[in-house]
Amino acid sequence: MSVREVYTSTASNPLGRPRGFWSALHLDPVLLILLTALIIGGLFVLYSGADRNFDVVKAQAIRFGIAFVVMLVFAQLDPSVFRRWAPWLYAAGLAGLVAVLLVGVGAKGAQRWLALPGLPRFQPSELMKLVVPMMAAWYLSRHFLPPRLPRIGMSLIVVLLPMALIAVQPDLGTALLVGMAGLFVVFFAGMSWRLISAFAVMISVAAPVLWFFGMRDYQKQRVLTLLDPQSDPLGAGWNIIQSKTAIGSGGFEGKGWLQGTQSHLEFLPESHTDFIVAVLAEEFGFIGMLVLLSIYLLIILRCLFIAVVAQDSFSRLIAGALTMTFFIYVFVNIGMVSGLLPVVGVPLPLISYGGTSTVTLMAAFGILMSVHTHRRMISA
């Protein structure tokens, strides 16, 4: 009986301990139920948001099937596998990002896809949402925590380098999510509050510089539009005005499933992708939104719990960071659709129509389940 095992047995929470059937599958039943509820509810909203197009729902269900398999596979792997692979995956991811900038394919003025012969098209930036926090967690957990300043500096470079590569594609939404994922690792590792405040000051100074030199015109336009949607009601402000109208006209109880006029009469743009929450808000009202936010909250609570009870620093850091990334998805998307944040391309997790982010998200939940189910047991 090793010292470590003694420690784990005393610290482990009986509630959080996987047992029997679920333990054998390496799945967390609580998280699984919450995710299933969200996904099934989401498919109903998608059916309405896609204007009763069942093909869209079918395609999305198939994606969830694939994503579920990916989650299952990730859950089977021991967290140490992720830790060992982190540097290699990170290196491969960086190479992929550089390749995208050189030979990538894309649309609407942004290069995001990499089409390698023999492989399906994929976005290296999407992969980095998982790999960057893994890498940061690997790097920081190798030594005592909290890390000293040079280590923090180094880990920030680890995070900001891929973020910058993604930002110049340009893909602000993904860059933001990747950066946040990495920064959460640093935060959870114990970066001192003084340093955090110092960085906050630096960022507020750098923001105007970024505004004038770093942002593209369309990105600036989105920020300006957020501040005053009426300035361009038929152009860039259209989305925000229409989504706020959809949400607001839903009222307390909503207009009823499939009864949303804003979405079904095509006033609401992107009603089955980024703006799908407006469909939900219009048709299910304030009550529906409270239910949605509650499910998200429960998922986040469960994941934070998994992180807290994890057995080693790497697992804690990666679990905590992925949880908070998931939260950022939720917050940025709903904040954007309700007109609190500028329009950035962040989908509503597990509800918006789209393949890549769904798979990434479910992989993240696979990692969380892996963290929770691969525990060193007391052997005697």
């Binding site: 114990g190 009222g251 009469l265 905590g320 939260f327 917050f331």
Partner: protein
């Protein structure tokens, strides 16, 4: 594993727990913030956004009223509305205009002309979100094909539109006028509310004059539309009030007969019912098909019409200004008698010419050797020029001007005939102003036989003739006979303004009428051929006007030059003499002599009206349906 690491692991765990707690608080706060935002939008400001949402989807649309129909005096339909399916585009809603047009050309047959017309309208100023038609008269097939493709064509609609149709357009184009698309000037003039859904407006004739009456009042409907403006359903509707149906004095049979009589020639016929002033026929030949103008005439079609030597677009009856020539003599005779310039029995010697002073210029009579001794009756019957030369000089220009103006010359005396011209009744003032020359006695001589500066339209000649038929009672010419539902015409038909022409000796009317009867029935009457064997008596006067103008650059072959230099044949008259039912003015351009060409045309019209059509002359709108089919 060293002991220290275990201790550190516990510390790291505690550190992580603290950080996780912070994040938990952040998550709570931010999610609460989102919930608060939702509360703000969905509960606090719900009403605002409900309004916005309704404004999005519910639109108020104007429903154009169906235009009033137009019937002739026998309830024959002259102007109706036909549903026509057209494909229209709303430029504001069309994604890419070029691609959309390209796609439409693949689905439909779109001619060069359609495209050209469409692009012209696209450039013109118009109301925002107004539909611009691309093609009219879609076939069932094309409508079906459009329906299949319409999801890919935002801003493209198939519209069923009521479009004006004139079933007898070649006959009625000049009398009725026509409607056409509202143009830029009209857009400034019309009431934007009442015309919000209307695309057509009366351009000429009855359609123009009674535009207000025919148009009706716009209606509204609330419709639910999607973001691309496609109407999904009608929520609420306030029906438009249709335009009034109008009945005209016009008799399509007489109108058709007039066209037959002038067939192959150029000319005009105006027939007036003297009792009412109603225009029974208003024919200008050749006519044209006004239906082409309704939806927009193509450039080649328009060129063909506008460049035709026969000038079919020219309304000769209202706007053709001719020298009235000898047809003016009855009116001048009235003037001469009433002013005392001549007496009934006074005779003059006509040597075949007239001189103002011995040895001066000779004003020749149409008859080379002269008529010898003639009194007023003979002068009328034989159209003796010298008699009227002398009478004109005796009267002087001021007297002639005064009387002729009371016959309606020199003014547009019509009540509701849009576009009628006023001709030219010369006076010394006019000549000084326009030509900077004094009035010479010779000018009076020329005016005495209706030549010189004097110009009159066929409508004016008919009006003056009707005045004689009425023995001085004025009846302004008019087209409107009734409004559906027996509404009063007051307020719609302008009021009559002319005082009756009272003579010092009212019996002079009969004298002149008898002199005009001599023209038709007298042994030496110039139109005795036309008056022969009639079962009724008629009065008339022939005229032959010299053709004074021919543009030098117009190209004619020799045959045509001869044809087009021939005199215009004129005739005015009425019948029956005792109780006139019809007064006419006939002009046949380059027809030669009035007695040979124009008078028989008038006789044929008299016969038609008094004998052939007599039994069905005066119906009212009540028996609308049954008489429609039998007419024509």
């Amino acid at each position: 594993m060293p002991w220290g690491e275990i201790k550190d692991t516990a510390a790291e765990r505690r550190l992580f727990q603290r950080r996780a707690l912070v994040m938990l608080v952040v998550v709570f706060l931010l999610l609460a913030g989102l919930a608060a935002r939702m509360y703000q939008l969905q509960v606090a400001e719900h009403d605002i956004y409900t309004t916005l949402s309704d404004k999005n989807r519910v639109q108020v649309q104007s429903v154009p009223p169906p235009r009033g129909l137009v019937y002739d005096r026998n309830q024959v339909l002259l102007a109706e509305n036909r549903p026509v399916f057209s494909v229209t585009l709303v430029p504001e809603r069309v994604g890419g205009m070029d691609e959309t047009l390209e796609q439409l050309e693949r689905i439909l047959e779109v001619s060069e002309e359609d495209l050209e017309r469409f692009e012209r309208r696209l450039r013109e100023p118009r109301r925002p979100f107004q539909e611009i038609p691309l093609r009219y008269d879609l076939t069932e097939d094309e409508i079906a094909r459009l329906a299949v493709h319409r999801h890919r064509l935002p801003g493209v609609e198939v519209r069923a539109e009521l479009v004006r149709y004139y079933p007898h357009s070649e006959l009625t184009a000049h009398a009725l006028g026509f409607v056409g698309r509202i143009n830029r000037d009209e857009l400034q003039r019309i009431d934007p509310v009442n015309y919000a859904g209307t695309n057509y407006i009366g351009k000429s004739g009855v359609e123009r004059f009674y535009e207000k009456l025919l148009h009706g009042e716009v209606g509204y409907q609330h419709v639910e539309t999607n973001a691309r403006g496609r109407i999904l359903r009608v929520l609420e509707r306030e029906s438009p009030s249709p335009g009034e149906d109008l009945q005209l004095h016009l008799d399509l049979r007489l109108q058709a007969r007039a066209h037959e009589l002038l067939d192959g020639r150029r000319g005009a016929i105006v027939a007036i019912e003297p009792k009412t002033g109603g225009l029974l026929a208003l024919a200008s030949v050749p006519g044209f098909d006004a239906n082409k103008f309704v939806t927009g005439i193509s450039v080649p079609d328009y060129r063909e019409l506008s460049e035709s030597k026969d000038k079919p677009l020219f309304n000769r009856a209202l706007r053709g200004q001719y020298a009235p020539a000898s047809t003016l003599k009855p009116m001048l005779a009235i003037a001469a008698l009433d002013s005392g310039a001549v007496t009934r029995d006074q005779t003059i010697w006509d040597p075949g010419y007239f001189q103002l002073k011995p040895g001066g210029r000779r004003y020749r009579d149409w008859k080379r050797g002269g008529h010898g001794w003639v009194d007023l009756t003979h002068a009328m019957a034989q159209s003796c020029d010298v008699y009227f030369y002398e009478a004109a000089v005796e009267m002087g220009v001021d007297t002639m001007h005064s009387y002729l103006s009371r016959f309606g010359f020199g003014e547009d005396a019509t009540l509701d005939v849009s576009g009628a011209l006023s001709g030219l009744l010369p006076s010394p003032d006019w000549k000084r102003a326009m030509r900077d020359e004094p009035w010479y006695p010779g000018d009076s001589v020329n005016l005495g036989i209706g030549q010189g500066f004097m110009l009159a339209t066929p409508l004016q000649m008919a009006t003056a003739t009707a005045l004689i038929a009425n023995r001085g009672e004025w009846v302004e010419p008019r087209l409107l006979k009734g409004i559906e539902g027996d509404q009063s015409l007051d307020g719609f038909l302008p009021s009559e303004t002319h005082e009756p022409l009272k003579l010092q000796n009212p019996d002079d009317w009969e004298f002149i009428v008898e002199a005009m009867a001599e023209v038709m029935h007298g042994s030496r009457g110039t139109a005795r051929g036309a008056g022969r064997d009639a079962p009724y008596r008629m009065a008339g006067k022939t005229g032959t006007a010299q053709v004074f103008s021919l543009a030098e650059d117009e190209e004619y072959d020799a045959e045509e030059i001869r044809e087009r230099l021939r005199d215009h044949a004129l005739f005015v008259g009425f019948a029956p003499v005792e109780n006139p039912e019809i007064a006419v003015a006939v002009i046949v351009e380059n027809g030669g002599g009035g007695s040979r060409t124009a008078a028989p045309v008038a006789r044929a019209l008299f016969d038609a009206w008094l004998l052939e059509f007599a039994d069905t002359g005066n119906d009212s709108l009540v028996s609308k349906t049954d008489s429609q089919s039998e007419a024509l």
